[in-house]
């Protein structure tokens, strides 16, 4: 594969805080893995906290970690992040800028693209360097099409969907050099005041965006998520929900999957009492394997699933869990 001869600049996300320390997120490790394959030059990370996870970054063969000085500004504001990233772009002159296609990543891609006059693409599932420039593939129209875009201008800005690349340690780890970056903030960044910003309480399970298995409950649960949670635990997966369940207040909005919720690309998606409305499936169509239990034989979910059961989830799911546990016990 052709590579670019300029560095790749990667905006990384960390979890944690100043007290407990910061940990590189899995989607960011995936970005760095992808970045190594794109360039014959260096991979340079940008971190938005004062104590980046240098061990994890080193395992990904990052040469340098740029730490922009955010001062009193919050990294929850996309204009703040964009200004910081723009300062790094000016310094490094990378061949491409990568970030994670979460909500902030999409906002940052839009803003940085506009600022640099560059082409930008979000929700990208694969990237390739060609003679005519960078080619980015993504799914379109609720997952029913795949499109490939060529970035024709500027320094391409790409937001990559989580889980489309598997993170791998580099053969030769590095000891990344930490570089502080001064930033001058735009009026627009100064103009947004963060009144409060609270991390949502974690469910104790793997996070939805990173999960290899996602078990989703829909209206068919009638508010009783215990079979959904039990199956998620049996499969070591995350719990998701349809919008109906969030609207009804059965689950927090943060686990809603779909057009206006989280996008997931797990290896396995299990829908329980989910009809498969297009607003929902737009968030899960890139799942490698789809399984569903729904009592309506005409539900559209059966058109996209690999294995479907027409039946009552309250009967089917406990039996399936028991069978899974038996099979495991036998091994």
């Amino acid at each position: 594969m052709t590579t670019i001869d300029r560095p790749v600049l990667v905006l990384t996300d960390h979890t944690g805080d100043a007290v407990s320390g910061y940990t590189l997120t899995t989607p960011s490790a995936q970005l760095l893995t992808l970045a190594r394959g794109l360039t014959s030059a260096e991979v340079i990370a940008v971190a938005l906290n004062p104590a980046p996870d240098l061990d994890a970054l080193g395992r990904q063969a990052v040469a340098r970690v740029l730490v922009p000085d955010l001062g009193a500004h919050s990294p929850r504001v996309s204009a703040v992040v964009t200004d910081a990233l723009a300062a790094c772009v000016e310094q490094i002159r990378p061949g491409v800028v990568l970030c994670v296609a979460n909500y902030r990543g999409r906002e940052v891609a839009g803003r940085l693209g506009a600022l640099l006059g560059s082409g930008a693409a979000v929700d990208v599932t694969s990237l390739e360097v060609s003679e005519e420039g960078l080619l980015a593939s993504k799914s379109a129209l609720a997952g029913s099409w795949t499109t490939c875009l060529r970035i024709t201008r500027g320094t391409p800005v790409i937001a990559l969907r989580p889980s489309v690349v598997t993170e791998e340690d580099a053969q030769a780890p590095t000891v990344p050099e930490r570089v502080n970056m001064p930033v001058s903030f735009s009026r627009e960044a100064e103009g947004v005041e963060v009144l409060s910003s609270a991390e949502q309480v974690s469910t104790g399970r793997v996070s939805l965006a990173e999960a290899r298995t996602v078990v989703v409950g829909g209206r068919g649960t009638d508010g009783d998520f215990s079979p959904v949670e039990a199956l998620a635990d049996a499969l070591d997966g995350a719990v998701g929900a349809t919008r109906v369940c969030a609207d009804e207040g059965w689950v927090p909005r943060s686990i809603q999957i779909g057009q206006t919720g989280v996008s997931v690309s797990p290896n396995l998606y299990v829908g329980l009492g989910v009809s498969g409305a297009i607003h929902h499936t737009v968030g899960m169509r890139s799942a490698a394997h789809v399984v569903a239990v729904c009592d309506d034989p005409d539900a559209p979910i059966f058109e996209i699933c690999d294995f479907g059961v027409v039946g009552d989830l309250f009967e089917v799911v406990p039996q399936a869990i028991e069978a899974l546990e038996q099979a495991r016990g036998a091994r």
């Binding site: 839009g110 006059g117 039946g311």
Partner: protein, 264 residues
């Protein structure tokens, strides 16, 4: 309070959406982007509360006027369509550039206090346009509002709540500002017959690029609006193996067997 609400005419998500020659087929079953209805509703109810004017703005082919008409029916006061053959193939960032020029022109007529957009358009779903638009207009941007409060009397204080990427945030800015809203922010109204009729007599402008020349600073019109080009578009064949069984007492076991064989 003078509000510009940006809307888009997109293929209905329930229709047979497809690409031909790398372009999304438009003009068959297009509607006002569902997520923009929330932005129009927010704009109209703010003006009902604070007084002022709502201008619905779109960039698109001639029939995108239908999306503006829907916004007028929902209570917007005026429609502005930016349409020009040279804009064919414009991407999200190109659209932001053109809309920013149109808003700058509107602002020149009389100051614009607030720009509202939906959180994404359902055709490309990039969510890039609102933040890019804010960048071009040099406005503070509050994205993904599921709650929106406006207080004061010019300049106004805009406060939003949003939930994104595992955080719940409350953000604030002073007008002029740009806000994108989610489908949670309100319940869009369904226009009554009288409102539909009244919409037909509301002003509708159509501008081409020449009319924006003074406010649109681009060197090369051929190239300015597309920094990405679709080089391939393929329909994904249904990947599901599509085995569907009806439970007759042992489907749970079958499901477990399937998972153990095919996935785990």
């Amino acid at each position: 309070m003078r509000i510009v609400v940006c809307v888009k005419h997109v293929p209905d998500v329930q229709s047979d959406r497809r690409f031909e020659d790398g372009r999304l087929v438009r003009g068959e079953d297009d509607v006002l982007n569902e997520l923009d209805e929330n932005a129009v509703e927010a704009a109209v109810s703010l003006v009902e509360e604070h007084g002022g004017e709502v201008i619905a703005l779109t960039m698109g082919p001639a029939d995108a006027e239908d999306a503006l008409m829907r916004a007028l029916q929902m209570g917007a006061d005026r429609g502005v369509l930016v349409s020009d053959d040279r804009l064919e193939g414009a991407d999200a960032l190109g659209t932001a550039l053109v809309l920013s020029a149109a808003i700058t022109r509107l602002h020149g007529e009389s100051p614009v206090d607030l720009v509202l957009t939906g959180m994404a358009s359902l055709d490309a779903m990039t969510s890039m346009m609102p933040s890019a638009l804010a960048c071009h207009l040099h406005l503070p941007f509050l994205g993904l509002a599921h709650e929106l409060q406006v207080e004061g009397e010019g300049p106004w204080t805009v406060t939003i709540s949003r939930s994104a990427d595992g955080f719940d945030d409350r953000l604030r800015a002073t007008t002029p500002a740009l806000v994108s809203v989610t489908d949670q922010v309100n319940e869009p109204r369904y226009p009554a017959f009288a409102a539909m009729k009244a919409a037909r007599s509301k002003p509708m402008d159509e501008w081409d690029l020449d009319e924006l020349a003074e406010v649109l600073h681009v060197d090369d019109v051929e190239d300015a609006f597309t920094a990405t080009r679709v080089v391939a578009a393929d329909a994904k064949v249904r990947e599901g193996a599509g085995t569907v069984v009806t439970d007759s007492g042992d489907a749970g076991k079958q499901l477990a067997a399937h998972l153990l064989e095919e996935v785990l």
